[in-house]
Symmetry: C2
Subunit: 412 residues, 2 copies
Amino acid sequence: MITTPSDPRRAELAHVRATNRAVVLRCVREQAPCSRADIAAATGLNKTTVSSLVSELLERRLLREIGMTGNRVGRPAMMLTLDGASYAAIGIEVNVDHLTAVAVDLAGQPVLSWRRSFPGATERGPRSVTAVAALARRVIARTERDGRQVLGLSVAVPGLVDPHGRVSDAPGLGWRDVDVVGDLTRALREPGFLVDVGNDANLAALAEHRFGPHAGVSDLVYLTGEAGLGAGMIVDGRLRRGSAGYGGEAAHIQIDPAGPLCRCGRRGCLEALAGIGAVVRRASANGDEPDARDGTVPFSDLEPEVDEVVARARAGDRQVLAALEAAGRDLGAGVAVLVNLLNPRTVVLGGHYAALAPWLLPAVDKELQERAAVPGGGGCQVVASTLQRDAAALGGAARVLEAVDAGRLPFD
Amino acid sequence: MITTPSDPRRAELAHVRATNRAVVLRCVREQAPCSRADIAAATGLNKTTVSSLVSELLERRLLREIGMTGNRVGRPAMMLTLDGASYAAIGIEVNVDHLTAVAVDLAGQPVLSWRRSFPGATERGPRSVTAVAALARRVIARTERDGRQVLGLSVAVPGLVDPHGRVSDAPGLGWRDVDVVGDLTRALREPGFLVDVGNDANLAALAEHRFGPHAGVSDLVYLTGEAGLGAGMIVDGRLRRGSAGYGGEAAHIQIDPAGPLCRCGRRGCLEALAGIGAVVRRASANGDEPDARDGTVPFSDLEPEVDEVVARARAGDRQVLAALEAAGRDLGAGVAVLVNLLNPRTVVLGGHYAALAPWLLPAVDKELQERAAVPGGGGCQVVASTLQRDAAALGGAARVLEAVDAGRLPFD
């Protein structure tokens, strides 16, 4: 956005125009196909302003005309829709042993989805960002070869991210105090578009809120079922990250002080009882419940182990079913804390939880009903994510589209 | 606000004017004394618009002129301030055994503070609302006799309040499904100003956010230390109540499944361990820790008991000091859950907690530091409320001023 401190009035007008442009874009995204008159009616902007903004957006290929319609009351009108072909928003998730990259067009339709292995926990900060940058360059090159301009790139990291784009701690990656935005911007040679980083749970919540079957719900909590456990919170329609960006740390809610040891040193934390590592351990433990510090290597992805648990549950293995029910009860105790505090409409179980949901959800629901301060959990529904395991990467792309919604266009 | 469905354009203009009027009022509240030119510079509105809005606000006695100033660069200008003398916002808290009424002027300065006893738990819904209405009428009469016009009235209730102003459950009052707004509006004979009801913790958080020493902090949690325990949450600068208005139910966060029985039927809930009733019980229990169902009558105000605990703590009674430290640790465990999820800048301990804070706070802090996912608790500070025990009633008044901030004026 142009801001000329010496001429506040011009800056103000540029700001008004950017805001109105965003209003028009959002209106078309929600109501397409629609005419200029429809936009004026829906937004309260006058027709001259709408025409001028639409012209600019057509020129930038953010909108396109799809022909006249006569199938309405009144004069035939030229109908508009988002121009899906010209732009792409990129999201990359850094997981403990793989990177996921997605690109979506302006309307949120997927145009690319890649996964490649990534030795996360064995490398250290700067080199890992180099690997992320290498993947980003390939995605950007492919996107541009397909004739799309990149709107921005946002990276999801399983760790604490401060408001300045520094990852202060991502234990699964061995990253401490890594300037992801700075390193990536330099590695991409100041690309001129938005480069951003966010916590994986936060971005996954954003993806559910924009692309999932519960899109648009005002209050939604996403729980990551990856190597770690974290919460992303949509409150009153927006992602909330707390005063320093560190909200959503649900892993170490203590469910039972007499429970198994957690990697944090205390006992019975939600992650130690019902994180994916704990679920796998409990299902494989022949009845006793080992500590989080025993058994599996910390911070591996656990995909083969989860597949094995799912296969045994499908086969009706009683020990596995009992373990999943017990873990589901503990997960439900954690969900109840979130529900009683935040009163969300929807809690989404993401990552590996989605594959385990058929066995976890009944126990989660039962525990939630028992612990909810309001009958029925205040109207809350607990569901499995349907975004496969792409939610965090899709959330990166959603972050970029959110910036466009707010009026921020590349090369503005 | 005037809305004429047949003329959306006029409605739109009325809306713009109301919004701009609110912008001017807020600007003067924050920056007074200031001139019309100052307002134009600070808000980005043009000078003609500002002059017209200021004229209207002077006429309605929401602003007043306080004389020319020459003590500045440039021409002398007429300075403006809020007109404190002409309006009042009223808040009433319904506690288990008393009602508190406050009135503040437009600038938030207190103009009235009353307390009267109220046999809350022994009466039932409709009659209790009658008692609230009787007090409200007296406050309104006094306010009007002092030459102030009432901007609105908001009532704080220790219980679950739905978005339509119905109290679905307030166990301390014996209220279930009481239409407080409807009953009160009828009892006051459709008074023409805003009549509203809210949860006591939510309104107390609003009061801290507007009137307290941490006013304006973007993320703040208030914990009620009354007969019950509840949380009010300011997130990203606004009170958040969840999808159905039931957020902030912190009482039954389970701290220890092996802990004392709670009135909810489970064990070791935050309220059973560290609610005011529990603190009093623990301090009086000669070392053993009785259940929440034993001992004191539920839902009495406990003011004499708290005074006794404070006196014994001041006198250095070791058993009381040990009990307060233990209760403080448990309270800290609950605060840690809030801090890890919401990452607030400030947690305010309200109600009776404020009097007990010198002995509770060190243990709360210690436990929080041990349990915080981010070193230093993500920058969070736990403090005692300084609003005496008027926070919830003041929050009712803050609610009314918030409506004015949003452009809602009485008799508009």
